[in-house]
Symmetry: C2
Subunit: 292 residues, 2 copies
């Protein structure tokens, strides 16, 4: 179950209604994928201000329906209410899977390797591009914007990793690797070491980071909403995992190791004289309730 609040989680200035509808389903389906399940039923609550555009609502619900068809699930109920201000979207997804294959966040063990699917920092860079007002060509830079507007949940991959019982712990990357991996480690009672040099990124991410005057590494470890999967598995499972990645058509990268010592530490490629070669990045990602 996830709620999206206008101007907190989305901005209508750049988010087309169809893609917002698709995203509202995708971010929820992603939670099911992260346990290894298949989505079955969708429930939608839509809050609308006193004055709303019925065409917008039609296009939004088309996005919801399209995503349901694509993910093979059924819109089974919901509610429409008046909001005080702005649009409110809450989606609940019910999924299904064999009980003995469910993958939780709590199963990581010291010695496990940490894997991520796809590439990181795309959605965060895409959001920054939207915010900046920079016009992008329909080329590679646009893939970053699309990652923000229309994320794809990793259902097949999650199912394969769970069905083949290779993932010890798994979750989806919604708040950024630093925060999400911290949650996984906390719930498993372990820590992790992550190698900056191993973090997967599209080549265009560096280009975008330059344009936005942002550190690409920061986008990769603290940027939210990529909805890729992070999971841990025995070191011996590497070859098998690579094959499952091919089967799902997903790039998979080994980015770190689970350790006894609590916390998530990032190992930088070169420890220069002016900085640490290891930084604690535990819970340093996106926060909807920043300290003031």
């Amino acid at each position: 179950m996830d709620t999206l609040v206008e101007d907190v989680h989305f901005d209508l200035h750049w988010h087309p209604p169809e893609k917002l509808g698709r995203k509202a389903v995708a971010v929820n389906v992603s939670d099911i994928a992260a346990m290894g399940g298949l989505p079955k039923f969708i429930f939608l609550s839509l809050g609308l201000p006193g004055q709303f555009d019925p065409v917008w609502v039609d296009r939004f619900t088309e996005g919801i329906s399209g995503a349901c068809r694509e993910h093979d699930c059924v819109l089974a109920g919901g509610d429409t209410v008046r909001s005080r201000e702005g649009i409110l979207i809450t989606v609940t997804v019910i999924g299904e899977m064999p009980a003995d294959q469910v993958v939780y966040r709590s199963g990581a063990r010291p010695g496990d390797e940490v894997w991520v699917s796809g590439t990181l920092g795309r959605a965060a860079a895409g959001l920054e591009i939207c915010r900046s007002g920079i016009k992008t060509d329909p080329g590679e830079m646009q893939t970053l914007v699309e990652a923000h507007l229309d994320p794809r949940p990793r259902i097949s991959l999650g199912r394969l990793l769970a069905g083949n019982k290779v993932a010890h712990a798994m979750m989806d990357l919604s708040d950024g690797l630093a925060t999400d991996l911290s949650h996984l480690c906390q719930q498993s009672g372990v820590g992790a070491v992550v190698y900056a040099a191993e973090l997967p990124a599209l080549p265009v991410l560096r280009e975008a980071a330059d344009l936005l005057n942002r550190d690409p590494l920061d986008l990769m470890i603290r940027g939210g909403e990529d909805y890729e999967l992070v999971f841990t598995a025995a070191a011996a499972a590497g070859t098998r995992i690579a094959k499952l990645g091919q089967q799902a058509g997903m790039r998979l990268s080994r980015v770190g190791t689970i350790v006894d010592r609590q916390g998530v530490r990032l190992i930088l490629p070169a420890g220069g004289t002016n900085g640490p070669d290891e930084v604690d990045i535990s819970f340093t990602g996106f926060d909807h309730f920043p300290q003031e």
Copy 2:
């Protein structure tokens, strides 16, 4: 799935957090009860403004937990997000029942009798009392306020009516009898006649209506949120239904008849010379999006 928006659906000036938590569960469980099912799993999404009172949140979640225990269901997931303004509550309930016993809104047939559980207009009068600022004694008038603050879903009754296959169509009264019965009739392709003289009310409702300068009949037919059940059944089932009502400990009243002619008409007790003795009350209840 139902969403409650602060200052649209509830007012923190008079709604204690525990009771609001209980109500957020109750209004959803009521939808399950109205099909004849038993609630199993609850999902809660809570939207909070940037500045919120953690004590309020604790008390609210106590109300949620208490209602889950009372209704024998499990809080199985949810989300916490930042709202732009005010508190947002969305609850999804998943229920369970034998597939061949599910009661829909679409099964009403001409000749059926229309029944309602409990008494009507309580919650609307209670809300008006809260709004007016009138102080009520902890006596009968307070039962009206409690009906608004802490409604009770009719789970046992719904289960009995469905399990014994006596209800042809059923729904819960959330928007008022006029609107809800109109929905039921529309989905069944029929109409209804309702007898004003048969509508059940607590004696204190008239007293409250006088105090509030409101028509008690208007509170009964247009007042929302009583969360009683309205259902239709064959005329021959009357005795059986009366017994099921006793079993569930609920007063049941026969208030009308299903007819071929579309629309919901209210028959007034005495057709005076100055007014009609029959009025069309189709879809004349509470509306969250009033025409301006």
